[in-house]
Amino acid sequence: MTWFGLYSYWIVVVLMMVGFYIVIAQGNLVKKIVGLNIFQTSAFIFFISLAWREDGTAPIALPDVTEYANPLPHVLILTAIVVGVALTAMGLALVVRVHEAYGSIEEDDIHRQDEQQ
């Protein structure tokens, strides 16, 4: 069952592909950001799952626990999540402004407007 034993990696791969596909294939600016989020989330899950240890608890110093998950990836991913939130906010803010300027959030539409200028 080794193929299934690494199921978290399968999730990572599927999410990554899904996210990446959305980023590339979608012309809607908001959907692109959704895709980007899924893509990033796959990386987060990847990190978290590599911190996992068999029979380990959460990485908190408790008196009678010896096996716990590696805390470092958790810390890293906490930072990465914050960065991701900031990126999403930034991206959405841009989309809002693009919408105000062009009246559309479809890429094709916007390019057409630019070319007509």
């Binding site: 959460a58 908190i60 906490l78 914050v82 906010a89 959405l92 803010a93 809002v96 105000e100």
Partner: protein
């Protein structure tokens, strides 16, 4: 708002609890899961709930956007202040143990300090983001 009396009652009970929970996470961060990031976001969440019920203007009377702006800067500066303090006291940047005579106490003090800075910044930035999105009207 009168039509949503249940919501109002429940949420006026909930909001204080959320806020207190935020403070709990904030100041318990060095012993248990938690810290400035989480606390800041939970704190913002309370305000989001408040805004949903009482409207943006009411929320902005409580914490004006300018204040949120300033607070986000102040949080970072607090963080940096601790960094510079450790440097002036002879340690490396953010080497907290030099802050107090006792190493252990110094580290605790330092972590609480910078986490407070982080918490303030995250809460303030979260609010700023929320205000700026919520404040937009089409056709503006």
């Amino acid at each position: 708002m009168n039509r949503y009396i249940v919501l109002r009652v429940i949420s006026s009970l909930m909001i204080p609890i959320i806020l207190i929970y935020a403070f709990y996470i904030q100041f318990h961060g060095e012993y248990s899961p938690g810290g400035g990031f989480q606390a800041g976001i939970v704190f913002t969440a309370a305000f989001v709930v408040y805004t949903l019920l009482y409207g943006l203007e009411a929320a902005q009377r409580a914490i004006p956007p300018e204040a949120a702006h300033a607070l986000s800067a102040i949080g970072v500066l607090l963080f940096a202040a601790f960094g510079f303090a450790t440097m002036l006291l002879g340690g490396n940047f953010l080497e907290y143990k030099v802050l107090l005579p006792n190493d252990q106490a110094g580290e605790t003090f330092g972590i609480i300090g910078i986490e407070l800075g982080v918490g303030i910044t995250v809460a303030a930035v979260g609010l700023t983001l929320f205000y700026s999105f919520a404040g937009r009207r089409t056709g503006e």
